[in-house]
C-alpha cells in the first residue's frame, strides 16, 4: 500500500506541475512577451478556461497526502510554515490577477494586475522548485517527527539549513526557467502571428540556460545528498529517467526549431514529468528525509494511514480520477485550437 500511494501522490503532483506549470509559465512571460493590450489579452485567455481546473490537482493532491500520509502532511506543512503561507498568498494573487484584470477598462488597473500576475507566477515557480529541493536535501527532523525551518539562515547546507540555501535556490531557478519554457511552448501552440513567433524565439534563448541549470542541479543534488543514487544503482533500469530528461530537453530544441509546436510542448511535459519522477525514484521509500539522523526519516511505512482508510480510498480515488480525466478531456476539447478574441463572453 505504501508503494501504491507513494506513486499515486507522485502522479497527482506531476499532473499539477505539468498542467499548472504552463499557467505559471504564461504568467512569467506575460509582461515579457506581449507588446500590446491585445496580445496581453490573448495570453490571459490562453489559460483562462483551464487554470482553475489545473490548480485543483494541487488541492486534490494535498488532500490525498493528508489522508494517505497524515504524518507527512502534518510535519512538512508545519515545518515549511513560512514558505507555505507565502505560497498561499501568491496563489491568491495569481488567481485574482488572472480573473480581475479584464474587469475594469483602465490602463492603471490592467497594468497593476499584469505586474501582479508576473510577480506571483514567477515567485510561485521559484518556491515550488525550492520546495522540491528542500525535500531532496532533507530537513532537520526531530525524534517526534516534526521540524521547523526558517526562510534562510546562512545559505549553506548544514545541520540547520534554511528553506533557502544555495542548493534550493538552484532548484528554484531550474523551476523558473523550466516553467517559462513550458509556458512559451504552450503559447506557441495556442497563439498565432507575431506572438507565436516571439514565443518560439524565447524558447531558443532560454533553452541554453535550462540545459545548463538542469545539469548543474543534477550534480548539485548528488552533493546535497550523497545517497541520491542508491536506488538507481540497485535498479539500473531507473537510469532511463535521466535519459528521458536529456532526450526531451533535446526534443524541445529540435521540435521548436522545426516549428512543430505540439511535439515541442509534449517534450516539455515529458521533461517536467521525468525530472519529478527522477526525484521520486531517488527518494523512495522516504517521503521526507532527515538531515539530522536517518532514523528520523519520514518513510512511507512510518507515515501510512490505517488499512481500511487506504482500501476504501483506493476505490473512490480510482473512480474519481476517471471522472476527473474525463472532465479534462471535455474542457480541453471545448477550448481547443488557437485563442481568438472574438469568441466567448456573453451574448448581448
Amino acid at each position: 500500500m505504501g508503494f501504491i500511494w507513494f506513486w499515486l501522490v507522485a502522479i497527482m503532483l506531476v499532473a499539477y506541475v505539468v498542467l499548472d506549470g504552463f499557467d505559471l509559465g504564461v504568467g512569467i512571460l506575460h509582461v515579457l512577451l506581449a507588446r500590446t493590450e491585445r496580445e496581453r489579452q490573448i495570453m490571459i485567455r490562453s489559460i483562462g478556461p483551464v487554470w482553475d481546473g489545473n490548480e485543483v490537482w494541487l488541492v486534490a493532491g494535498g488532500g490525498t497526502i493528508y489522508f494517505a500520509f497524515p504524518l507527512l502532511y502534518a510535519s512538512a506543512f508545519s515545518g515549511f510554515y513560512l514558505a507555505l503561507m507565502i505560497v498561499l498568498w501568491l496563489l491568491i494573487m495569481r488567481g485574482i490577477a488572472v480573473e480581475l484584470r479584464m474587469k475594469i477598462e483602465a490602463g492603471v488597473w490592467r497594468s497593476f494586475f499584469d505586474g501582479l500576475f508576473f510577480i506571483s507566477s514567477a515567485l510561485l515557480a521559484i518556491f515550488y522548485g525550492a520546495a522540491l529541493a528542500n525535500v531532496i536535501r532533507g530537513v532537520p527532523l526531530q525524534a517526534d517527527g516534526y521540524f521547523f525551518l526558517p526562510l534562510w539562515t546562512n545559505w549553506t547546507i548544514g545541520p540547520h539549513p534554511g528553506i533557502l540555501d544555495w542548493y534550493t535556490v538552484i532548484g528554484g531557478l531550474v523551476a523558473l526557467v523550466a516553467l517559462a519554457v513550458h509556458g512559451a511552448l504552450y503559447l506557441a501552440v495556442k497563439t498565432e502571428g507575431e506572438l507565436q513567433l516571439r514565443a518560439r524565439t524565447s524558447v531558443r534563448s532560454m533553452w541554453a540556460a535550462l540545459f545548463l541549470l538542469t545539469v548543474v542541479s543534477l550534480i548539485a543534488s548528488m552533493i546535497a545528498r550523497s545517497d541520491t543514487l542508491t536506488n538507481y544503482k540497485n535498479h539500473p533500469i531507473a537510469f532511463a529517467i535521466p535519459l528521458v530528461v536529456l532526450l526531451s530537453l533535446l526534443g524541445i530544441l529540435y521540435f521548436s526549431r522545426k516549428t512543430a509546436d505540439r511535439s515541442a510542448f509534449a517534450c516539455s511535459c515529458a521533461y517536467l514529468a521525468a525530472m519529478l519522477v527522477g526525484a521520486a525514484v531517488g527518494l523512495y521509500p522516504r517521503l521526507l528525509p532527515a538531515s539530522t539522523d536517518p532514523s528520523y526519516d519520514i518513510t512511507t511505512a512510518k507515515a501510512l494511514s490505517g488499512p481500511h482508510t487506504l482500501h476504501v480510498g483506493l476505490i473512490w480515488w480510482s473512480f474519481g480520477m476517471v471522472l476527473a480525466v474525463g472532465y479534462f478531456v471535455f474542457v480541453y476539447r471545448m477550448f481547443r485550437g488557437k485563442v481568438t478574441l472574438c469568441t466567448g463572453g456573453y451574448e448581448h
Binding site: 490571459i44 485567455r45 483562462g48 478556461p49 482553475d52 481546473g53 490548480e55 485543483v56 486534490a60 494535498g62 488532500g63 490525498t64 493528508y66 489522508f67 494517505a68 497524515p70 504524518l71 502532511y73 502534518a74 506543512f77 508545519s78 515545518g79 510554515y81 513560512l82 507555505l84 503561507m85 498561499l88 498568498w89 496563489l91 491568491i92 488567481g95 485574482i96 480573473e99 480581475l100 484584470r101 479584464m102 474587469k103 516534526y146 521540524f147 521547523f148 494511514s305 490505517g306 488499512p307 481500511h308 482508510t309 480510498g313 473512490w316 480515488w317 474519481g320 471522472l323 476527473a324 472532465y327 479534462f328 474542457v331 471545448m334 466567448g344 463572453g345 456573453y346 451574448e347 448581448h348
Partner: protein
C-alpha cells in the same frame, strides 16, 4: 498572546472570511438553476437575462471562494499539525474527496456555464448550470462530513501508534450529525442567496430602474426565501438543536446561558452571561420553554453548566451565548420578513409596497451575520475539544510554529483579505449598477477567461 490562542484566531479569521463567499455561491447556484428552468419552461427570455446577470456576480463570488478556500485545507497541516497527524486517516478522506469529486466538476463546467451559452443548446447550458450547482453542494457535503466528525466522532478506532482510522466509511458519510448539519447549513446558504437576490430586486424597484428584472429577482428571492427561512428553523434547526442537546450538553447549556440544572428550564431571550457569579445579568426569560424545546415537555430537566467540570466548559463562553442568540434572533426576523413579503407577493401588491421593499433592500447583510454566528456557535460550542471528547484543542496545534510566526501570517491574511474585500465590493457594485442587459445599457464585453 499564546500560540494556542493565535492559532485559533488564525483559523477563525480565515474560515469566517472564506465562508462569506461559498454561502452565496451555494445559494445562488440553486437560484440560477431555478431561473434557467423557468426560462426554458415558459420560453421567457427575461429569465435568461436574469440568469446571465447573476452569473456575473456568481463568477466574482466564486473566484473569491476559490482563492480564500485553498488556505483552509492547508491550515490543518500548517497550524494544526498534531490534530492533522492523528486524524488524517479519518477526515483527510472527505477533504480529499471534496477536491476529487467537487472541485474538478465545478472547474470543468463553470467555464462552459459562463462562456459557453452560444456553444451549446438551451438544455446543454441548463445542464452546465446544474452541474456547477451540484459541484458546489457536493463540496458543502464533504466539508460538513469533516466538521461533523469533529463535532460527533463516529466509526473510528485508534491504531497502536495513536492515530485514528475510519472503520466504516459508510457510517462516516452517514453520521446523523452530518445529515442534520448539512440540511441546516444548506438551508442557510439558500437564505443568503435569496436575500441578496431580493435585495438587488428591491433596489431596482425602489430606484425605478430595470424594474422588469427587479420584479423577477424579488419574486424568486421571496419564494425561495420564505421556504428556506422556515426550513431553517423547522425542521432543520429544531432537530439539530435537539441532537446537540443529547450529545453536547455543555454546549447547549452555555448557548442558553443555563448555569444551573433545572426542571422547567427557562429560555433566556436576552442577557449577559457572568462567568464569575454564574448567572445571567439583566435577563429577559420565558419559563419552561427550554425544557419544552428540547424534550417536548415543560417539566423535563435540562442539564446546566453546574453538572459539567469547569475545564470542559466551552470558551469563550459569553461569545458562544451571544453568537447563538444572534443566529436565533435573526432567524426569527427572517421568517417574519419573508412571510410578510410572500403574503404581499401572493396578493400581488409587493412590487408597489415601498415599506416592504425597504427592509428587503436593507436586510441582505443579515444572513451573512446569521450564518457566521451559526458557525461560531457550532465551533465554539465544540470547545475545549477539537474532536469532541477525544482530542482537546490545546493538544491539536503545531507546537513548532511559534506565536510570532502565527501572528505574522495572521496579519498577512488580514491585509490581503482587506484588499480582496474592497475589490469585491467595487466590482459587484459595478455589476449591479450596470444592471441586467435588457435595461437598455450594454455592459462592456467580458473577457473569455474562466471566471470573468
Amino acid at each position: 498572546m499564546d500560540a494556542l490562542l493565535l492559532h485559533r484566531i488564525h483559523f477563525a479569521f480565515t474560515i469566517t472570511f472564506h465562508y462569506l463567499f461559498p454561502q452565496l455561491t451555494m445559494g445562488l447556484a440553486l437560484l440560477i438553476v431555478a431561473l434557467k428552468s423557468v426560462a426554458i419552461r415558459n420560453k421567457d427570455e427575461r429569465y435568461n437575462e436574469a440568469a446571465r446577470f447573476w452569473a456575473r456576480i456568481f463568477a466574482i463570488n466564486f473566484l473569491l471562494g476559490v482563492v480564500t478556500g485553498i488556505p483552509m485545507e492547508f491550515q490543518f497541516g500548517t497550524n494544526w499539525s498534531q490534530f492533522a497527524r492523528t486524524t488524517g486517516g479519518v477526515i483527510g478522506q472527505p477533504l480529499a474527496m471534496e477536491g476529487v469529486f467537487s472541485f474538478f466538476l465545478e472547474s470543468a463546467f463553470l467555464g462552459l456555464f459562463l462562456f459557453g451559452e452560444k456553444r451549446v443548446s438551451a438544455w446543454g447550458h441548463w445542464a452546465a448550470a446544474f452541474l456547477v450547482f451540484l459541484g458546489s453542494w457536493i463540496s458543502g457535503f464533504f466539508i460538513i462530513v469533516t466538521n461533523a466528525w469533529m463535532q460527533h466522532p463516529v466509526a473510528y478506532r485508534v491504531l497502536p501508534n495513536g492515530v485514528y482510522e475510519v472503520t466504516s466509511f459508510w457510517k462516516l458519510l452517514n453520521n446523523p450529525w452530518a445529515l442534520l448539519q448539512y440540511a441546516h447549513t444548506m438551508s442557510g446558504a439558500v437564505i443568503t442567496g435569496s436575500f441578496v437576490m431580493s435585495s438587488v430586486g428591491a433596489f431596482y424597484l425602489l430606484e425605478n430602474r430595470f424594474a422588469e428584472h427587479g420584479r423577477i429577482f424579488v419574486r424568486v428571492g421571496v419564494i425561495a426565501g420564505v421556504i428556506a427561512c422556515i426550513t431553517q428553523i423547522f425542521p432543520t434547526g429544531d432537530l439539530h438543536g435537539r441532537y446537540m442537546a443529547k450529545h453536547q450538553p455543555a454546549a447547549v447549556a452555555a448557548m442558553e446561558g443555563l448555569f444551573s440544572s433545572q426542571r422547567g428550564a427557562p429560555i433566556v431571550l436576552i442577557g449577559q452571561p457572568n462567568e464569575i457569579t454564574q448567572q445571567i445579568d439583566n435577563p429577559i426569560a420565558v419559563n419552561d420553554v427550554l425544557s419544552f424545546l428540547i424534550y417536548g415537555t415543560t417539566k423535563a430537566e435540562v442539564e446546566g453548566l453546574d453538572r459539567i467540570p469547569r475545564e470542559d466548559w466551552p470558551s469563550p463562553l459569553p461569545l458562544l451565548f451571544y453568537t447563538y442568540h444572534i443566529m436565533a434572533g435573526l432567524g426569527t426576523y427572517f421568517v417574519l420578513l419573508m412571510v410578510v413579503a410572500a403574503f404581499l407577493l401572493w396578493r400581488g401588491t409587493l412590487f408597489e409596497t415601498r415599506w416592504a421593499l425597504w427592509p428587503l433592500l436593507l436586510s441582505f447583510p443579515f444572513p451573512y451575520i446569521a450564518n457566521t454566528a451559526g458557525w461560531m456557535t457550532a465551533e465554539i460550542g465544540r470547545q475545549p475539544w477539537v474532536v469532541y471528547g477525544l482530542i482537546r484543542t490545546s493538544q491539536g496545534y503545531s507546537k513548532y510554529v511559534s506565536a510570532g510566526n502565527s501572528l505574522f501570517s495572521l496579519l498577512g491574511f488580514m491585509g490581503m483579505y482587506t484588499v480582496l474585500s474592497i475589490l469585491f465590493i467595487v466590482l459587484v457594485y459595478r455589476i449591479i449598477d450596470q444592471g441586467p442587459v435588457a435595461g437598455g445599457q450594454m455592459p462592456e464585453p467580458e473577457s473569455a477567461s474562466l471566471l470573468a
